[in-house]
């Protein structure tokens, strides 16, 4: 019984550690080293003149809905930003091309359609805005209503 109790304690400790690691990685932006452009044809939508948020979603993905809302908020008053949602299962070509491992994943493209930042999980709006600032550092001529 003691060994089992120890095993359970190890399981709980391991789970807590895993939970902490996952929580820290959640929504964090990582730089993408790629020159593989995404075009409007690839996405079925025009690109943003400043940046484009490409959200990969899937059917059994509750956080995808949260990310959809967050991105809608971030891009709401910015006509120079575009939010495109891609159903990962029907676009496995893009999934493989950009090595999308799980959903939700957001790729932030620059004005040329080159992915520059990748965010996995549910980013806080601040994390998305920071990623945007990294991709498009020039101040926008449009006013943000927040």
């Amino acid at each position: 019984m003691l060994t089992r109790a120890l095993a359970l304690a190890a399981l709980i400790a391991g789970s807590l550690l895993l939970a902490t690691l996952l929580a820290r990685r959640n929504g964090r932006a990582r730089a993408v080293r790629s020159d593989d452009r995404l075009t409007a044809d690839d996405l079925g939508s025009p690109l943003g003149t400043t940046a484009t948020f490409v959200q990969f979603s899937s059917r059994t993905c509750a956080p995808c809905r949260t990310v959809r809302r967050t991105l809608a908020d971030v891009t709401a008053a910015r006509p120079d930003l575009v939010h495109v949602e891609v159903d990962a299962e029907s676009r496995l070509d893009l999934v493989r091309r950009y090595q999308v491992l799980a959903t939700p994943t957001v790729l932030v493209l620059d004005a040329a359609g080159i992915p520059r930042q990748r965010l996995r999980g549910t980013p806080h709006p601040v994390q998305l805005r920071l990623a945007l600032a990294t991709v498009a550092p020039e101040p926008s001529p449009h006013e943000e209503t927040r």
């Binding site: 059917r59 939010h83 949602e85 496995l92 999934v95």
Partner: protein, 163 residues
């Protein structure tokens, strides 16, 4: 009794309409699956502590009901609805029941395999299977980890490779 989610903004452009919005198939209180995950984790912890095959079998049955009939009709979901929910305020939003249901299917697969292995005499099958399912249930209860999101693409890519 519950208000449908009234604010739902859609993206500026969406070439492939994403399936599974909150209200599709009737949205559910997102606290229900979290509660069920907590109960599941507790049950699986006891299975690990006692190597209880019967308790494992009972949990397999619970997963099966949730997988086949949806989380609303699953035993822990019923307990939530009847005993816990009346004591809480209304949910701030509803969620799609498909992801929690997929998680039940994954739980069924893992614990079902462990049960079969245990009945075939494989040593430690009960503990290993229950332990794996415990971690998933624990993470879901504590940090709301969406296992379906992590696995769905892996499975989809594997299926596409096989096809």
């Amino acid at each position: 009794m519950t208000d449908p989610n009234s604010t739902s903004t859609s993206p500026t452009t969406s070439p492939v309409p994403p399936a599974g919005t909150g209200a599709a198939g009737g949205g559910i209180d997102p606290r229900g699956p979290r509660f069920a995950a907590a109960v599941t984790a507790a049950v699986l912890a006891v299975v690990v502590l006692t190597a209880g095959v019967w308790l494992l079998a009972a949990q397999v049955a619970v997963f099966a009901v949730g997988s086949l009939f949806g989380v609303r009709h699953a035993p822990y979901g019923q307990v939530y609805r009847l005993l816990v929910r009346p004591r809480l305020g209304p949910p701030s939003e509803l969620e799609d029941p498909a992801p929690p249901r997929f998680a039940q299917t994954v739980g069924l697969a893992v614990t079902g395999a462990a049960l079969v292995a245990a009945l075939l005499g494989v040593p430690f099958a009960v503990e290993v299977g229950a332990g794996l399912a415990f971690v998933a249930a624990f993470l879901n209860a504590v940090v709301g980890l969406c296992l379906g999101c992590e696995l769905y693409l892996v499975l989809a890519r594997a299926r596409a490779r096989v096809a």
